[in-house]
Symmetry: C2
């Protein structure tokens, strides 16, 4: 290593050290930074100067007159310049968000659209339109989007950006990275991994947990001491294909009796609807305790029932109040059930006291408990966070999942991990995606300052 | 931090840096060490001097006349002084070994004994006798045993050294660490974790794998980039309690249909023997292809059949040729089947072409494949190493496990992890235990030099 290279490497390391020290507190003086990092005050002042110039940190208070380094002037992470783009393609929605370096979510947009019907190139084009709109808006707000991460529901080859197989999208060997056209680098990663990171950075704040992303598919992300566990190839956390019953229903993955066949959104809806179509829907217990045969007919306007929960349909930019994209009409409403709509329908049935919807949830919760007992035995998480569709369903399934876990694990383990609800739900992955860009900037600010 | 503390911390770090650099090669000059560590030659010479004095490294070649530092004199890890003790309590055997700092296995001893019948204090006393013998022998050979690690078949609280529950031993909340009496520190850890580390350090040399320890219980240890994955509480890798069939036979852990009930040693033997006791044992196919009813009676002397494989019964010190401890007679030979004996019996039946033994292995292999498909989906290992009783059984079960994995995973994943056999078998845990002490010395040689 030459002298110049050594110097550059040391400067890069020290910039990261100082930036991390700033990020560890609300705000901090240069003197405290010197104490925290072990660097001299002169070195700290020089590095802080570079970070201010690059827009990564900012001085607090009214001191704007060049009195840098004066005792008492504090430094904090700047939320005014550098920002990150989070993107998500899931089976039945697209999501984008912009997060600034201070980890404030600045813009977010979700579009309900069935992506199973469209070729990947069209899905990515639509996502590109959604993203361009928020990036333009971010730029208008003075932000500079420096990178993005795209969440997809399937295992991703992290080196090539190829999605080997996303069975629920019907994607095989899609070179996703090469389809993306952005004026900044965008990486591709598994949705469940990113949702776990979203939970870590924007959710509960727990350092050790298994986050379960319930969508059409079911993924999980394991966070251990604040770090995501990826496995040897980045394919860890495929909870949806953990075996619940070895001779159970065939799964799109090629296996049988996978968790997804019991607790995935389609399985849940099919179970609830199948029951509804063969049995008379019960009237609310209070009104008719006898539950007579031939009561109210099953609701055929299931789709419309979901519409009532407008807030879950299409979330739009918070800051600008831009109205959301028009909702993509489902080509076959009987078959295609966008996530929010489907879950809203199940929720409305549950709220009506529908026994079939409850039975479908019980089955899903039992299967989740079985698969999670295997997961706890294998990876030993400190807590289980239920996210995605399981967040709104939590009041109905949470205790049943916990009970199944306790039955299967309680005798062997001193403490069974608690089952808690994600506060982020379906937004977790896009937030985690943006957060990952922020982490990268924090870990190597020199790379950004040089560009 | 005071100046003196800073200096001590830096010296400790640099000692570890130099020792690691020595360990990374067969042997190395002081000049190369300076290059590798970035330290000055003077500093390196001082540190190497300390390490030589502590018996951790040694100069190679004939240079013993004080010409230290002369160019060309090489340094290597010394195998002549510092050594580590590996210990294992398993359900049906005890094992100890001594490994020197150069990672050569110097002494090993295994004793077949049924530990289910004895209280923990007696088991530990017997293990202490076995260990004292090898430690005394190590001392006679000029070695200084600086620490030990004890492997036990159950989750261990790493802080307190309490074994919360080892269901196959019948142990609950045993304060194991407090029962150990050695003139050096001995920690307690889970057997499956240590077996995986044994495989890493003394076996295949693969950096990423899931090691399966098949004994009466079944544990697994996940190694990712050369490091053991322990989970949030050190309880990860309980593969034996991964669900194969949710309504399957009840398990000692409190669950149902756990892998152990299909592929644990007791389950395997019970399946093979149950079949043998209700069906006529087939004569070898070559002699009687028709497999007539009412052939040879089932062998009731199964225990004795195992005795023929003497090499698997009691392994003794390699270097000294000391004869093994007398074998503990089983109090109830019908119920208690020491591992080597049991597997030797199954092996002999397999070699005779016994269809029942083969069917029992097929069931075990299928269950292993199902549980491992869940494990691969969750933790994404690069390879699966079958150890413990699965090592001798590998020719019969290996391809079936691999086939089940391929059936369940092949469509979703580009490459299914290969299933390979451990070269260590039942010795893996004791070796990993000793290896862990060596790792600790390598990571913090200053702690040893100060004592």
């Amino acid at each position: 290593m030459t002298q110049a290279l050594r110097h550059d490497a040391m400067r890069a390391r020290n910039l990261a050290l100082v930036l991390a020290a700033v990020g560890a507190r609300e705000s901090v003086t240069r003197a405290a930074l010197a104490e925290m990092t072990g660097l001299t005050k002169t070195t700290v002042s020089k590095l802080v100067g570079d970070l201010i110039e690059g827009g990564l940190v900012v001085e607090t208070g009214a001191v704007r007159d060049g009195e840098r380094g004066r005792p008492g002037v504090e430094i904090r992470i700047s939320g005014q310049h550098v920002a990150a783009l989070g993107l998500e393609v899931n089976v039945d929605y697209l999501a984008v968000c912009v997060v600034d370096l201070a980890r404030t979510v600045r813009l977010r947009r979700t579009q309900a659209v069935d992506n199973r019907a469209a070729p990947p190139v069209d899905v990515i084009a639509r996502l590109g339109d959604l993203a361009s709109a928020v990036v333009d808006e971010a730029v208008e707000n003075g932000l500079r989007v420096v990178g993005g991460v795209l969440a997809v529901p399937g295992p991703v080859d992290m080196t090539s950006g190829v999605v080997h197989n996303a069975p629920n999208l019907g994607w095989r060997d899609v070179p996703l990275a090469s389809l993306l056209r952005f004026p900044f680098p965008v990486r591709v990663e598994n949705e469940a991994n990113l949702a776990a990171l979203g939970e870590l950075w924007f959710g509960s704040g727990l350092p050790d947990f298994l986050h379960v992303s319930g969508e059409i598919g079911i993924g999980a992300g394991l966070v251990v001491r604040g770090r995501l566990f990826r496995g040897a190839h980045g394919f860890a956390g495929e909870l949806g294909h953990v075996v619940v019953s070895p001779d159970g229903p065939p799964c799109r993955c090629g296996g049988r009796g996978c968790l997804e066949q019991y607790a995935g959104q389609d399985a849940l809806l099919t179970a609830a609807r199948a029951a509804a179509s063969v049995r008379p829907a019960p009237v609310p217990p209070a009104a008719a305790p006898g539950n007579p045969p031939g009561g109210m007919p099953p609701r055929e306007d299931a789709g419309k029932a979901g519409e009532t929960d407008k807030s879950r349909e299409t979330r739009t930019s918070e800051e600008t109040g831009t109205s959301g994209e028009p909702r993509e009409p489902s080509s076959s409403p009987e078959m295609l059930l966008p996530a929010q709509q489907g879950v809203a329908w199940v929720l409305s049935r549950l709220q009506e006291g529908d026994a079939d919807a409850r039975a479908a949830c019980e089955r899903a919760a039992w299967a989740l408990g079985v698969a999670l007992s295997s997961a706890v035995n294998l990876v030993d998480p400190d807590a289980i966070v239920l996210g995605g569709i399981y967040a709104p369903l939590f009041p109905w399934i949470g205790h049943m999942v916990a009970d199944t876990l306790k039955d299967r694990l309680g005798q062997m383990r001193g403490a069974v991990p608690p089952v808690v609800v994600s506060r982020l739900g379906a937004e977790a992955a896009a937030l985690g995606a943006a957060g990952q860009v922020i982490e990268q900037v924090m870990a190597d600010p020199a790379a950004l300052l040089h560009t």
